[in-house]
Structure formats: C-alpha cells, structure tokens
Symmetry: C2
C-alpha cells in the first residue's frame, strides 16, 4: 500500500466554509488537489492508496482507495466530501472515527499521532529538496510520503519527522507543489524507480 500524509496547517475544522472560495478556506484547494493526485488514474482509481489529511492539528480525514465511491477529480467536489466529513465530526468519539461517505473517515488527531501511527506500518519518507535523490532509493513495498501544504513544516513537525522518518528524499531539482510531488512519487513507484518504463 502507498500512503500519503498531507498537513493542512490552516485547513478548516468546521464545515462552515464556502465551496466558492477554497483558497480562502485555509487553502483547502491544495488538499483537494493532493487527493486527486493520490487516487486518479486515467480511467480508474488507485485502490491500494490511503490518504490522511491532517486538518489544523485537530482532525484527520482519511480516504481509503479501495472503498471510495463518490470521488471526482475536480477540487470543488472533493472539498464537498471534506465538508461532509467535517459535518460528521461530532460522530468521531475517542479513537472511533466517523464514516460519512464510502471510503471517507474522520477522527480526532494531529500530525504527530498520525505520522507515528503510519510509520509503524510503512517506510516513512519525507519529501525534501535537500534529501537523497529518489533514484538512489530502492522503491519500498509500503511507502508513506509526508507532505506539507503551502507552508513549510513547523519546527515541531520537523523535529517529529527527524525522529520517525526512514528516508529523506528529493524528487528532483525543482521544489514542487505537494500534489505534483504525489504525482511524481506515484510515477517513480509505478516504474520501479524509473527502471521499468
């Protein structure tokens, strides 16, 4: 399984935002594009993918590729799914998540708990311009990539990552948006480290 943890530092934690202004809703557009890049193939969804959106260190919305039924590629409809999850947030009690639509879960959670939990079942990879070139990395069987939105990781997040990540990897000479980085990471894994084209 491939996993992606995306941190939305300013993301909404209540459903009272407008679908007409996603950049104004704590740059929710960034997170929506990440969900698109993580799941969509030309005529299919990637089923063996899990995405964790960390919303302002308060809630985590989890998307399960094998269960998703109502995901469309455009930002607005993905934002509507996230809004639906936030409407159901009161149903998340303790460690129990709510499941407002097929393949979409919401639970209380923060960056550190999410990353530590994902690290237990994967090879955790921090994407960073200064990291090791991805071509030098043998593609792991269960990779998890941790990405930030339009902000850098906070000092506390960076400290946590330094402790739990297995690899710090660069995807190329240019610093990319998080959603573009997900697309490149998929291509690297699809082609077994660019060796099988």
């Amino acid at each position: 399984m491939r996993q992606f943890v995306v941190v939305g530092h300013d993301a909404p934690t209540t459903p009272d935002f407008s679908l007409e202004d996603l950049p104004g809703a704590g740059r929710l557009d960034v997170l929506c594009r990440c969900v698109n890049s993580a799941f969509f193939l030309s005529h299919a969804l990637r089923e063996d993918v899990r995405v964790h959106l960390v919303l302002a260190d308060a809630y985590v919305v989890r998307f399960e590729g094998a269960e998703l039924r109502r995901l469309n590629p455009d930002e607005r409809s993905t934002a509507a799914l996230i809004r639906g999850a936030l409407e159901a947030r009161e149903g998340a009690i303790g460690a129990m998540e709510a499941n407002p639509s097929p393949g979409v879960y919401i639970g209380k959670g923060d960056f550190e708990s999410t990353v530590r939990s994902v690290a237990e079942e994967s090879t955790l990879i921090e994407l960073h311009e200064g990291g090791q070139p991805v071509v030098e990395l043998e593609p792991p069987s269960d990779p998890a990539f941790v990405l930030s939105d339009h902000h850098d990781f906070t000092d506390a997040e960076a400290d946590c990552l330094a402790e739990v990540t297995d690899e710090r990897v660069s995807l190329g000479s240019q610093a990319l948006h998080a959603d573009h980085a997900i697309t490149v990471a998929h291509n690297y894994l699809d082609t077994d480290g660019f060796n099988v084209y």
Copy 2:
C-alpha cells in the same frame, strides 16, 4: 521552451458558464488543472512554458509563462481567466489574438492549425500509452507535448498527429490524467531524462 497543447473537446466557446460547476462546463476543470501543472513550482511560475488550450476546435487560449501575472493554483480562478478570455473573443480578428489579461491570449484556431504551428518550432511529442518509454528519449531542447482531455483524440486528430509528431512517448505503466502527465513530463525534463537527480 516547453510547450503543452491540450485539447478540450467539449470545452466552452462562450463565457456563459458557471464557475460553480466546471465539470459541467465541458470538463473545464481538466484544462484548469493542466494549466496549473504546466506553470506552478513551489514558490514560482515556470516562465519558459507556453500552454495552448484548444477549445472545441473554435478558439485557442494561449498562456505565456513569462508574462503571466494573475494565475493562481486553484481551478476556479484559472477558469475565471479562461472566461475572461472568452469574453474578449470578439477582439480576436483573423490571425490577430486578443490579450485580455497579462500572459493570456485568445484567438480563433483549431487542433490542426495549432499543432502544425507548434511543430514548426519544437520537437512535437505525442503522449501515448503505447509509445516509446520516455527514458529512451534524449530530452529535446524545445519539446512540445500534445495531450487530450478526458476523451481520446478523435480519428482526425490522431491522423494529424501521426503526420506531424516527432516522437510518440509513454510516461510509464499507468495511463495518467493529462495534468498528471504534464507534471511527470516536467520532472523528466527537470532531471534531464531522470539522469540528474
């Protein structure tokens, strides 16, 4: 310079569509994501990029990276730029384009005239699942990639491409959305054919 020609078979040719339903506006969301992938780096625009959106074989909206001033990453604001271009379409007379906002041009045009014109100044590359693996291709200095929206190329478009393209290239084992293909193509060029990471 890197160029991308993206064909929107059902794209609007008048400005009377709603920004609240871009998929319903002839899948304009697809074209907006392609513009995003073509231009955005983490904290900059790619200046040496030109994008041609072919709208239903009637108009071509051209984006010039070196001149763009009001491009934002979200789909809706890009759609608003395209709508602004369509509002100015009457100003495009004969071969003369209108220039409704910095770096955004609109002119009458169709697939064949656009592709033939771009082919004169570039190495024209058709992205196709059945093409040559991209790793076998020496990155050209002035590549132009031709992509289709959610539809396949029509027979007439495919015939035209067979005549004018220099290369037919595959980006990997999975068929990708057009915007994801643009991201992978950039990564391939940024890293000199995946050799310079």
